[in-house]
C-alpha cells in the first residue's frame, strides 16, 4: 500500500468516526458537517510535500472525532436551549456542555439541583392526598426537608395546611429560576478553544 493510500485511509477512518459521533444530529446537518470537514482536510493536506505530516497537523487541530462532534452538538444544543423554556432540553444541553469544561459541569449541577428540587416538590404535592399526615416538611432525628419519616411521632412538621401552596410556589420558583439562570449562562458562554500553540506564550516561558 502506498503512502498516499495510507493517508486516504486515515482520512476515511477519521470521517467514519466523526459520522458515528454525529449520529444524534439531523441527517442534513450531519451531511453538511461531514462534507465541510472532509473538504477542509483534503484542501489542507493537498499539495503538502509531506502529506502525512500535514494530515497529522490538521487532525490535531480538529481534535478527535468525538471531541469535534461534542463541540458541534454542544453549540447546536446551546443555541436552541438558550432560547427554550424546556427543562428537558436545558438539562440535556447541560449534560453535553459538561463534557466540554468546568462551566458546563457547574451548569449541569445547577440543573440537576434546581430541576431535581422542583420535581421533588411537585411529586410531593401529588403524593400528599395519598400519604396525608406522613408527607410534609419535617425536621427531627430523621433529617430535615420533604421526607416521609419512619416515625412521624418523633418529628415536627412545619408547614401543616400550607404544605401544598408553599411547595407549589417553591417548585414554580425553582423551575423558573433554574431555567432563567441556565439560559443566561448559555447566552453568556464563550466558545471552548482547541489549543493551537505548541510553544508557551512569551510570559510563560
Amino acid at each position: 500500500m502506498t503512502s498516499a493510500q495510507l493517508t486516504d485511509e486515515r482520512i476515511d477512518a477519521y470521517m467514519g468516526r466523526l459520522d458515528d459521533a454525529l449520529q444524534k444530529l439531523r441527517p442534513s446537518d450531519r451531511e453538511d458537517i461531514l462534507r465541510e470537514i472532509h473538504a477542509h482536510i483534503v484542501e489542507s493536506t493537498a499539495g503538502a510535500s509531506d502529506r502525512d505530516a500535514a494530515l497529522d497537523r490538521v487532525l490535531r487541530l480538529l481534535g478527535t472525532p468525538e471531541e469535534l462532534a461534542s463541540r458541534y452538538k454542544a453549540e447546536s444544543l446551546l443555541t436552541r436551549a438558550s432560547r427554550s423554556f424546556s427543562p428537558w432540553l436545558i438539562l440535556r444541553t447541560c449534560w453535553q456542555w459538561a463534557k466540554l469544561g468546568l462551566k458546563g459541569t457547574l451548569a449541569f449541577f445547577i440543573a440537576v439541583f434546581g430541576y431535581g428540587f422542583a420535581a421533588g416538590a411537585t411529586a410531593s404535592i401529588f403524593l400528599k392526598p395519598f400519604l396525608g399526615s406522613r408527607i410534609g416538611w419535617w425536621s427531627g432525628p430523621e433529617g430535615v426537608g420533604i421526607i416521609i419519616p419512619a416515625h412521624p411521632e418523633r418529628m415536627h412538621e412545619w408547614l401543616g395546611n400550607y404544605f401544598v401552596p408553599v411547595l407549589a410556589a417553591a417548585a414554580f420558583f425553582f423551575a423558573v429560576g433554574t431555567t432563567q439562570l441556565l439560559r443566561w449562562m448559555m447566552r453568556k458562554r464563550q466558545p471552548g478553544l482547541v489549543p493551537v500553540r505548541e510553544t508557551p506564550a512569551p510570559w510563560a516561558r
Partner: protein
C-alpha cells in the same frame, strides 16, 4: 512552569475566547470566505491562531443564530468549499461588537500605556 505563567496563559486564552466571535464576524465584513480562508485571515490580520476544531462548530452556531449564511461552491481546484457571509443581523451584531470593543480598548489603552511603556513612578 510557574503559577504566573499558568495564569498568564489562562488570561490570554480567556481574552482570545472573548474576542473570537467578533473576530470571525469582522473577517467576513468585506467579503465571503470559506473556513480555511477565515483561519488564515484571523491568523494573518489579528495573530489570532484558531484551531479548526474551534472554528467550524462556531461557524455552524453563528449560522443557526441567523448571523451568517452559507453556500457550497465547487472550486476550480476540485475541492468543494462552503462560503460564509454576513446576514443583515450578522452585520448589525459585528458593528455593535466593534463599537463596544473600540470604546473599551481605547479606554484601557490609556490605563495600560504607562505599563507597556515602562514608565517609572
Amino acid at each position: 512552569m510557574n503559577s504566573n505563567g499558568d495564569r498568564g496563559q489562562n488570561w490570554e486564552a480567556q481574552l482570545r475566547k472573548g474576542c473570537l466571535e467578533m473576530a470571525i464576524l469582522a473577517s467576513l465584513w468585506h467579503t465571503r470566505l470559506y473556513g480555511l480562508e477565515i483561519l488564515r485571515c484571523l491568523s494573518e490580520k489579528s495573530d489570532l491562531d484558531v484551531a479548526e476544531g474551534t472554528l467550524y462548530p462556531i461557524l455552524s452556531r453563528l449560522k443557526s443564530e441567523g448571523l451568517l449564511e452559507s453556500e457550497w461552491v465547487e472550486a476550480e481546484a476540485g475541492h468543494p468549499r462552503k462560503y460564509y457571509w454576513l446576514t443583515g443581523a450578522g452585520r448589525a451584531r459585528a458593528k455593535d461588537m466593534a463599537t463596544a470593543w473600540n470604546e473599551f480598548a481605547g479606554k484601557l489603552a490609556v490605563l495600560v500605556q504607562p505599563v507597556a511603556g515602562g514608565t517609572q513612578r
